[in-house]
């Protein structure tokens, strides 16, 4: 059936089964491949997107449950002030190694900074705990979040 979604501020329609995870609607139907498939079971965070600004795992979010909530992906998050700062800091610090987890890291970090503009180490660790990085870029992820929140110099 056809679902109408608001993705990165645009209205998009997807004619898919209602149980299709948002991740695959974004990637295969709408051609937005920024959100990544890592586990399919809410265990890695690679697929993280925002629904009305809150981070969710798109791999376990059926498209039928999205409703009227605004979907933001890494392709569109740069239009928000926090997202733009996070992406800038990510590049300045050169966080990625393989880069595959980084869309999810950026989405979780942006949600964190939107809620808590100057997070402590413990708050960063709590907010980012569900985002796995197999290359273990964690030291730079943490530094980039601090840079994006103006707590350290790049």
């Amino acid at each position: 059936m056809a679902f109408t979604l608001t993705v990165n501020g645009e209205t998009r329609t997807a004619d898919v089964d209602g149980d299709t995870p948002l991740l695959w609607v974004l990637r295969d139907t709408l051609g937005l491949v920024g959100a990544k498939f890592g586990c399919g079971a809410a265990l890695c965070g690679a697929c993280t997107v925002h629904l009305n600004g809150a981070p969710v795992r798109a791999c376990v979010t059926p498209v039928s449950r999205v409703g009227a909530r605004a979907v933001t992906t890494v392709e569109g998050v740069g239009k928000t002030p926090a997202g733009a700062k996070v992406q800038e800091a990510w590049k300045a610090i050169d966080v990625p190694q393989c880069g595959y987890c980084q869309a999810g890291q950026i989405m979780s970090a942006t949600a964190l900074l939107t809620a808590k503009p100057k997070p402590t180490d413990a708050e960063i660790e709590a907010a980012m705990n569900g985002n796995l990085c197999r290359c273990a870029t964690y030291l730079r992820v943490k530094k980039a979040i601090k840079a994006a929140s103006g707590q350290v110099e790049v």
Binding site: V16, D17, T20, P21, W24, D28, T29, G31, L32, V33, G34, A35, K36, F37, G38, C39, G40, A41, L43, C44, A46, T73, V74, E75, G78, Q87, W90, K91, D94, P96, Q97, C98, G99, Y100, C101, Q102, A103, I106, I124, E125, M128, N129, N131, L132, C133, R134, C135, A136, T137, Y138, L139, R140, V141, K142
Partner: protein, 722 residues
């Protein structure tokens, strides 16, 4: 044209590679050291210079997060003498005839390419100078370059202006070219960022899983839980009845665990539909001879083999048995480690198109050429009919050195009659890996009254058959302290294995470092000596053990250098509160010498890693300090993750773990700060993707011993501290 297939206007994924698309000039070099194209295999590169002076440099080695797509083009750009900001990097196609070795493995790219790729850059520069000299009618000697320009007196021309004329000239013999004095380096030795940072941070298509080919279908492929078991029977109808499923079929496959294995493919309009189809399949797998093997069975057999006389001896120096009899103290211990998976975050995937006898493949592979051979054999097409695009891999760690996903995608596409993107599930990825194998080391050492090691014996119990080890299941007997201890022996026994095994970051060494450096720590304790002082004595005078130029030779002075540096930086020997401790380990692998110190605290059974210090000697030049730090930190944290909790176990011939809940990766809260130091030595620069991994597990376990008195002899650490 390459990339044409991807130019679907509704999608943004466009791959450009190889040919001189876009107007510029293609300078192609087959720089045969011995003047013949076959000899040229290591020294080849492409440089393209546009009229506006923009330079495109092809990176020949696949990128899987090791940063080679920055490091190798830097070598060319340095000698070419251009601004790094004028350089665009393109991934080269897989083509062994043009590029030679295109393998992301063994930390060998920097080692093998450091000289050759600089000569590629120098050759282009020489051609541009020649073109300028001819244009101005001045002697070549009067010409110099500034980044992007040739100058001679008042004459000045940009590389872009000279490129066309330069391309028509015959390249000089690269051996005759004088390379830059390292003191004049402007690019090498400076920190440069990763390639594709914009695409990564804004989610643009980049990885294998992002590839889109017009008319493409999506596939999933189910293989037997027991490696290589055939499909006995399957009802395909329920899968075909799922909306969106186009087809479902059996792939016969063979018995080669590295090749195309039997299974059932489901092909659909979307990957989700393919998965739903897969869930509807009822497959009966045929019986298989390895269906009874299990981790418990392996362990029981290993204990039995350890008690029996060894099947063979791989090395014997002096007389270990006599030396042990006269030792003042004898220390014996058994060490073991589990199978582990690579678990790159991007599951295995590959896109393939088979049409009119031609095969086009987009693969996140670390090693394309063996994949080409598999595909040629499976589809019965000549190797020349196969084009392989090297697509960025979301992590490799050695997993993508095998090409099973490539031949599966090609076989499914051929049968489906349409281009296919095959994507594995996470569970497929965990259960069908080429695992880092487990093994057992039964160690005995003798110390004399002064605490000097007089004998060292290892009965290594592993997997294989007859005289052969299973893939990546061997032990190279020349590991230190071989040749530093007069009486030294390595005995070997093996048992058969039906599980696929293969290289994982610092193959072999990733486990040997744990065993050798943990046991060395035990000997230091038995000798009543400080672990650093004990290792200094064991290393002895600076000298080369083994033959110069051989990969298994070991320089005691270089190891001493990193040992001393890390001891100094970590404040080795300082007093720590009860429950805290410092641990140290040093190990040589992939031509790199690395020493690691870790500080831990164990409180009520809970381990906290406070900090890590590491020192590495990989020669006289760090090509890209930024990338070097990433690889050092990444390798060390990778090793911490596996040491803490990772284990693949087998039951009924199959891997039990499937997803990250049962095969846990390191998380941010468990990642300590890692301080990295380099010790420059007058040796050729070598790679950094791996050598920091092997000393790490032992440094951690030795720190735990220092903090608690508990010796970890079996990995993972798991709940052993509880």
């Amino acid at each position: 044209m390459d990339g044409e297939l991807l130019r679907d206007p509704t999608r943004r994924f466009v791959l450009k590679s190889g040919a001189a698309a876009g107007g510029g000039l293609l300078l192609s070099f087959t720089m045969a050291a011995e003047g013949n194209a076959v000899e040229a295999k290591r020294i080849n590169a492409y440089v393209r210079i546009a009229p506006d002076g923009k330079v495109t440099i092809a990176s020949k080695v696949p990128e899987v997060g090791q940063g080679i797509k920055t490091a190798l083009p830097m070598l060319i750009a340095e000698e070419l003498d251009v601004e790094w900001s004028a350089v665009t990097v393109e991934q080269a196609l897989a083509d062994a005839k043009v590029y030679g070795r295109q393998v992301a493995g063994g930390s060998m790219a920097t080692t093998l390419e450091y000289d050759g790729l600089r000569r590629v850059g120098a050759t282009v520069r020489a051609l541009l100078i020649q073109a300028a000299a001819t244009r101005w009618n001045v002697p070549v000697d009067s010409c110099e370059t500034e980044p992007g320009f040739v100058v001679s007196g008042k004459n000045r021309a940009s590389y872009g202006e000279l490129a066309e004329a330069a391309a028509a000239l015959t390249p000089p013999d690269p051996k005759t070219l004088v390379l830059k004095d390292p003191k004049a380096f402007r690019i090498i030795g400076q920190s440069h960022k990763s390639q594709n940072l914009d695409a990564i941070t804004t989610g643009q298509p980049l990885y294998g899983i992002d590839v889109v080919v017009p008319g493409m279908l999506f596939a999933t492929f189910v293989k037997a839980p027991v490696y290589g078991a055939k499909v006995a029977s399957v009802d395909l109808a329920p899968a075909k009845a799922v909306k969106g499923v186009r087809d479902a079929f059996v792939i016969e496959g063979g018995t080669n665990l590295n090749g195309l294995l039997p299974g059932v493919a489901v092909v659909a309009d979307s990957w989700w539909a393919a998965r739903k189809g897969r869930n509807a399949l009822e497959i009966q797998w045929a019986e298989h001879p390895t269906a009874a093997q299990s981790s418990a069975g392996f362990a029981a057999k290993a204990a039995e083999l350890a008690k029996a006389p060894p099947q063979r001896t791989d090395r014997s120096d002096g007389d270990v048995d006599t030396a042990l009899k006269s030792a003042a103290k004898v220390v014996a211990a058994t060490y073991s480690y589990p199978f582990i998976a690579h678990a790159p975050l991007e599951p295995q995937n590959c896109t393939a198109s088979v049409k009119d006898g031609k095969v086009e493949i987009w693969a996140p592979t670390q090693n394309p050429e063996p994949g080409r051979k598999l595909v040629a054999a499976a589809l019965n097409v000549p190797e020349e009919a196969i084009t392989i695009h090297l697509v960025r891999g979301g992590g490799g760690f050695g997993r993508r050195l095998n090409n099973d996903y490539m031949v599966e995608a090609a076989a499914i596409a051929a049968k489906a009659g349409a281009p296919v993107k095959l994507i594995w599930t996470r569970e497929d990825d965990t259960r069908h890996d080429f695992y880092r194998p487990g093994a057992w080391h039964n160690l005995t050492a003798g110390l004399d009254a002064s605490g000097k090691v007089t004998a060292w014996k290892d009965h290594f119990v592993s997997f294989g058959e007859g005289d052969k080890f299973a893939p990546s299941c061997g032990f190279n007997a020349t590991q230190f302290p071989c040749r530093a201890v007069d009486n030294y022996r390595v005995d070997v026994s093996v048992m058969p294995l039906g599980v696929p095994t293969g290289p994982l970051r610092a193959p072999g060494n990733n486990a040997f470092g744990f065993v050798l450096q943990s046991f060395t720590d035990e000997l230091a304790v038995a000798a009543g000596k400080d672990p650093v002082a004990f290792r200094r004595e064991l290393l002895g005078e600076p000298r080369l053990l083994g033959e110069p130029g051989k990969g298994d030779s070991f320089h005691t002075g270089r190891m001493r250098g990193v040992l001393d540096l890390v001891a100094e930086k970590s404040g080795w020997g300082r007093a720590l509160p009860k429950g805290s401790g410092l641990g140290l380990a040093c190990h040589y692998s992939h031509l790199g010498y690395v020493a690691v110190v870790m500080q831990v605290t164990v409180k009520d059974g809970a381990l906290k890693i406070e900090k890590v210090w590491a020192a590495a000697d990989v020669g006289r030049q760090i090509v890209n300090p930024n990338g070097a730090e990433q690889q050092m930190q990444g390798s060390i944290l990778d090793a911490i993750g596996s040491t803490l909790r990772q284990e693949i176990t087998f039951e009924n011939g199959a891997a039990k773990q499937g997803n990250f809940n049962t095969f846990p990766l390191l998380r941010m809260a468990d990642a300590p700060d890692v301080e990295v130091h380099f010790k420059l030595s007058d040796n050729n620069p070598t790679g950094l993707g791996e050598p920091a991994y092997p000393p790490t597990p032992a440094a951690l376990c030795n720190a735990i011993f220092a903090a608690t008195g508990k010796r970890i002899r079996s990995l993972p650490i798991g709940d052993q501290l509880a």
